[in-house]
Symmetry: C2
DNA sequence: ATCGGACGGATCGCATACGATGTCGGGCAG
DNA sequence: CTGCCCGACATCGTATGCGATCCGTCCGAT
């Protein structure tokens, strides 16, 4: 859980609201009323305003002067934009991370992919669990990217995807079998220390295929 | 100039501080004291807090609890990270914009590049003006990108570059002649409706060369 | 002489209070 | 009956004030 000890109130409010939004407790379009939140969390409206402003800067809510804040709604077009952007960014990050991947990173990624393979072939396919593993898989492969700024952008896109996932659409496509195979493909490239261009191309294509499949159906 | 009419005070303060930071009036490392700013702009500290928080979310200042805000400092490593990220993003945006470029866009870009060529060969080379034109050139070529989310990220990186430019380093490298030639190259690809991959590769390489040249010297 | 602790100024963090602004619904004119 | 205007309510925006926290400094003990 988040370290609630000795944080500023505005920070606590921020964490709280963020949690509510990302878990879907506040559905998309939900109207956030400052005074109400303030009373619920037993603080004054001032720190709440600050928290909401931060959420706005992160793109989690929209805020209109003298009107208030609403949890952002995301439609299929937004999904496509974010996913495409993520394809570019994650492709770049993965390719840059390539030369910095230690054997243990590869081992971990391989382990995660194996787990995904098991899940994919299981009779009662658990899409949520699969998605979680998928995220962790790509996280392991991006994390060693030496460009921290780029990595930061990737993280933001992931968060946005998490939000989209719990939002409009029920569950996003998983393409279990195909995904696992593409992952294996990518891992093989990384193991043999392939050229950055190749890694980038494969990683990007992987993401774009997921996107296109969803939009196509 | 910025629409100062009928904006909330926090908005005005935000614009003001942003201006001060980006123009370099507040040098990097400058300590922003809430009460001081509040008195200067004749508002209470509350809106100032909000404005500073927004600047923090944008990465223009760092804020430490019970201590205050400082204008961020950017070193060569940060420059490299941002520039590399921008290379990826701008490459992507330009390639996506390709099919949506109207003749007038290409004409405008060509015009700008011609102006840059004139500037490059002028005896008293004006680096600032050259940089401005360079930004406008790439802006024209990115703007039609249909992925608004990606475009938004590109804009953020541009802002960050603007900040870096006025920051640590005096003036960033311009490579006048080479740049102009590479621009012409890129324009030619766009005119003939080249494949997205090619456009992306050239646009990216152009940016990366600028970066490497600076880091190399 | 050096180190540790206590004091004070500077600054931030938040609660409260009130004025400003937007929204919604009811009443009146057409 | 329908449309417009006005007024009340809900909510936001900001000023003021006070307590909390941090940092630099001075003093005394070792």
């Amino acid at each position: 859980m988040t370290e609630t000890a000795m944080m500023s109130k505005s920070e606590r409010v921020y964490q709280h609201l963020r949690e509510e939004i990302l878990t879907g407790a506040y559905p998309e379009g939900y109207r956030i009323v400052l005074d109400k939140v303030a009373r619920e969390l037993d603080v004054s409206p001032v720190p709440v305003r600050e928290a909401v402003r931060r959420l706005e800067a992160e793109g989690l809510v929209v805020f209109t002067r003298n009107v208030g804040a609403q949890v952002v709604g995301i439609d299929a077009g937004d999904y496509a934009d974010v996913m495409q952007t993520l394809a570019y960014l994650e492709g770049a990050a993965t390719s840059l991370a390539g030369p910095h991947l230690e054997p243990e990173h590869l081992a971990e990624a391989t382990r995660l992919n194996t787990e995904m393979r098991l899940l994919a072939t299981a009779p009662d396919f658990d899409a949520v669990q699969f998605t979680t593993l998928n995220e962790r898989f790509h996280r392991v492969l991006c994390e060693p990217c030496p460009n921290k700024h780029l990595l930061e952008l990737v993280h933001r896109e992931w968060q946005r995807m998490a939000m989209i996932r719990r939002s409009s659409f029920g569950r996003l496509p998983s393409r279990p079998a195909t995904s696992v195979a593409e992952h294996e493909n990518l891992l093989e490239l990384l193991r043999e220390g392939a050229a950055a261009d190749d890694i980038e191309r494969i990683a990007r294509a992987h993401k774009l295929r997921t996107m296109k499949e969803f939009l196509g159906t």
